[in-house]
């Protein structure tokens, strides 16, 4: 059935100390450029949204870099999500004020789930993305019920929580999240493809859009995550930063596979 809506390609900027960086499985970071420049570059080359994550704000226990957000937002006219170190309604407020359209919460949502509802009630669910960094339980495969035992991690993958990813996604929706950003820690940075079974398990469990993240390495991976993974959007960082993929080229490939995308863009 044609729904009218297109599948979104989201370019992610992992930022630390005001610079975009890229690591493999959350470690070994290398410099990839200036956030404002890269955001603009991605938007003009066809990215449907931009996500900026301050990946060390939580582990450094410091607030997110508002100036970087403001500078990046200034000439960006596609949806702009900011995450990392959002702990309170005030933090969220400051980010919206600086030009974010949505905020992404991860650690704070696990520690104090009420914050999801608080921000959603004030700014609307559409402005709240709950980010879930998940790792499959050792050797876990898809069960008959279509779920996969997987655990949610915090602080950029440093702390295991004991929460199951599918259960937590469901709870986040009930508490008012507007979207789920699901990162597979097993796949992140490998460029071997998204975790489609895990993405599908989460996408089927909730009635809000699920953004798949972690593992993008080729156009085929995006085709897989939209088809087998049932993702509503897919996010990638490194393949865009280093020009391995032009977003427009990627969308042409998706279109040829009958996946609805925003073209021309």
């Amino acid at each position: 059935m044609s729904t009218g809506i297109t599948k979104r390609i989201i370019a992610c900027l992992d930022v630390t100390n005001g610079r975009v960086v890229k690591g493999v499985q959350f470690v070994d970071l290398i410099d990839a450029g200036d956030p404002a420049e890269l955001a603009h570059l991605h938007a003009t080359s066809g990215a449907d949204e931009i996500v900026l994550l301050d990946i060390t704000a939580t582990s450094d226990a410091r607030p997110i870099l508002i100036d970087v957000v403001r500078r990046t937002a200034r000439q960006l006219f596609v949806p702009f999500t900011v995450g990392g170190g959002v702990r309170s309604l005030d933090d969220a407020n400051a980010l919206f004020d600086a030009g974010a359209d949505k905020i992404s919460i991860n650690s704070a949502a696990i520690k104090t789930p009420e914050i999801i509802t608080e921000i959603a009630e004030r700014f609307g669910s559409q402005a709240v993305i709950v980010a879930i960094d998940a790792k499959r339980k050792h050797g876990a495969e898809v069960s008959a019920a279509g779920t996969i035992p997987s655990e949610v991690y915090l602080a950029g993958g440093r702390i295991a929580t004991g929460h199951d990813a599918v259960d937590w996604a469901r709870e986040a929706e009930l508490r008012g999240a507007g979207e789920i950003l699901l990162t597979s820690m097993d796949c992140d940075g490998t460029r071997n493809g998204f975790d489609c079974p895990l993405t599908a398990a989460v996408a089927r469990a909730v009635n809000i859009p699920v953004i798949a993240s972690g593992g993008a390495g080729s156009g085929d991976h995006f085709v897989d995550v939209f088809k087998a993974g049932c993702a509503d959007a897919a996010l990638a960082a490194s393949i865009f930063h280093f020009g391995i993929h032009n977003v427009r080229q990627l969308k042409l490939q998706l279109q040829s596979e009958s996946i609805p995308v925003r073209l021309p863009c």
Binding site: R122, G124, N207, I208
Partner: protein
């Protein structure tokens, strides 16, 4: 000069920077007197329909009515457009402006709600001469994020389909509304905001 109405629920920053990019000055206010005297009014809105209640209690609603009556160009965005209808089942006790007939209702679909992402707009028969959509081809992509949608009634200039077909844009005389976010819809959205600015400028010249 564009006056952006602040009712403590919108993402005014995004809308304002789009106008800044277009070379248009803007002010943000919740003062009824400033709203009444504005050259052009924009009501950006996100979030719950009940937040528009504040517009009534603060006196801004009456000021908007007076301004519209005098011919002031008025653009509602997202919940700002929904407020131009009679109301919304999201908050039945909250009254809209009833500039357009009908009530906004939640999507009745098995698809995911909210409707989030880029979707296409196409002119409805009444929208052929739309000033707001001037130069915007049918099937252009714009960015939506909403769970409630307005009905296709008189005054609807463009529609979008997400399982159901709903009002994407409205227009009558000096009143304009868009369900999508022009400030987040790339060049298409900027074109639409520019059209609004041009309309407001032409009116000033008269």
């Amino acid at each position: 000069m564009i006056t952006l109405i602040d009712y403590k629920a919108g993402n005014l920053t995004s809308v304002r920077k789009a106008f800044t990019f277009l070379g248009e000055e803007s002010v943000i206010t919740d003062d009824p007197a400033q709203v009444r005297d504005a050259e052009a009014l924009v009501l950006p809105g996100v979030g719950h329909f009940c937040t528009t209640e504040r517009l009534a209690t603060s006196g801004v609603r009456d000021a908007v009515s007076e301004a519209i009556e005098r011919g002031t160009p008025f653009l509602g965005i997202c919940v700002g457009m929904q407020w131009q209808f009679a109301g919304s089942t999201e908050s039945p006790e909250t009254k809209g402006m009833r500039l357009f007939e009908g009530t906004c209702e939640r999507f009745q679909t098995k698809l995911k709600v909210p409707h989030v992402g880029w979707n296409q707009i196409r002119r409805s028969p009444g929208g052929a001469q739309s000033r707001l959509l001037d130069g915007v081809p049918n099937d252009s992509f714009v960015y939506f994020t909403h769970s409630y949608r307005a009905p296709v009634v008189d005054g609807v200039s463009a529609v979008t389909t997400y399982d159901e077909t709903f009002a994407a844009a409205v227009e009558r005389d000096n009143i304009f509304g868009v369900q999508f976010h022009p400030e987040k819809s790339g060049d298409t959205g900027l074109r639409i905001l520019k059209n609004f600015c041009n309309y407001a400028a032409a009116r000033r010249m008269r």
